[in-house]
Symmetry: C2
Subunit: 139 residues, 2 copies
Amino acid sequence: MKIEQVEKFIGKQDVAFIASVDAEGYPNIKAMLAPRKTVGAKTIYFSTNTSSLKVEQFKANPKSGVYFYNKGLLKYEGLLLTGDIEVIEDQTTKDMLWQDGDEKYYSGGVTDPDYCVLKFVAKEGRYYSNLNSESFAIE
Amino acid sequence: MKIEQVEKFIGKQDVAFIASVDAEGYPNIKAMLAPRKTVGAKTIYFSTNTSSLKVEQFKANPKSGVYFYNKGLLKYEGLLLTGDIEVIEDQTTKDMLWQDGDEKYYSGGVTDPDYCVLKFVAKEGRYYSNLNSESFAIE
């Protein structure tokens, strides 16, 4: 699996699944809107609500898994990336990632304190296609 | 969220997402075929490959999250259940859950050593619908 193929696959999905680990050590999964920005397949930015449970969880434990999934007519494909999440609240990054329409989620606009950014940095990947899987490192 | 509603929602999904925690503490996500059997919203059985990475992970750490997701025309719904997974290899349970067509995944049939069952027992749930969420206990 080449990084270019990983990037292309991510770019085609409109939903991402993100996992955190809660205070009792249980993995939590949540569907997210597609990433706001992807740099290589290594750094992935999501926008989310500061008040959400997963932000609280990532502040306590940055370990994360991000998963993309596609069920086509002939095959299914899944891509798991594991790495760490940083909760970003600086205004420069928030400005950079803001898009028209985000007011729907954050009524106060780009400076709404409930708007924040999750910055995920991948360490490892695993790609599944039908019954096969392949692990790969991310430089 | 009533347990009957949770059950009904699970019954309508054809894919489940299952999370484990790996040896380094990172949450892993994997898409699964719909549950093979569901008892209330508390006990959920999946079939899987004994040789798979997640079986190894659940043997070391039973903590799990199971997630169901539906994106409709008007709203999205997500359901997270957290609880523990037991890897079941006894033949009685394997016989009970075997279905025609499983030979596609386990060429040796119902006694194929690569065929096993994951028994998930939920402790807590969280239901998401559009921008709202609601936690509930599972008795």
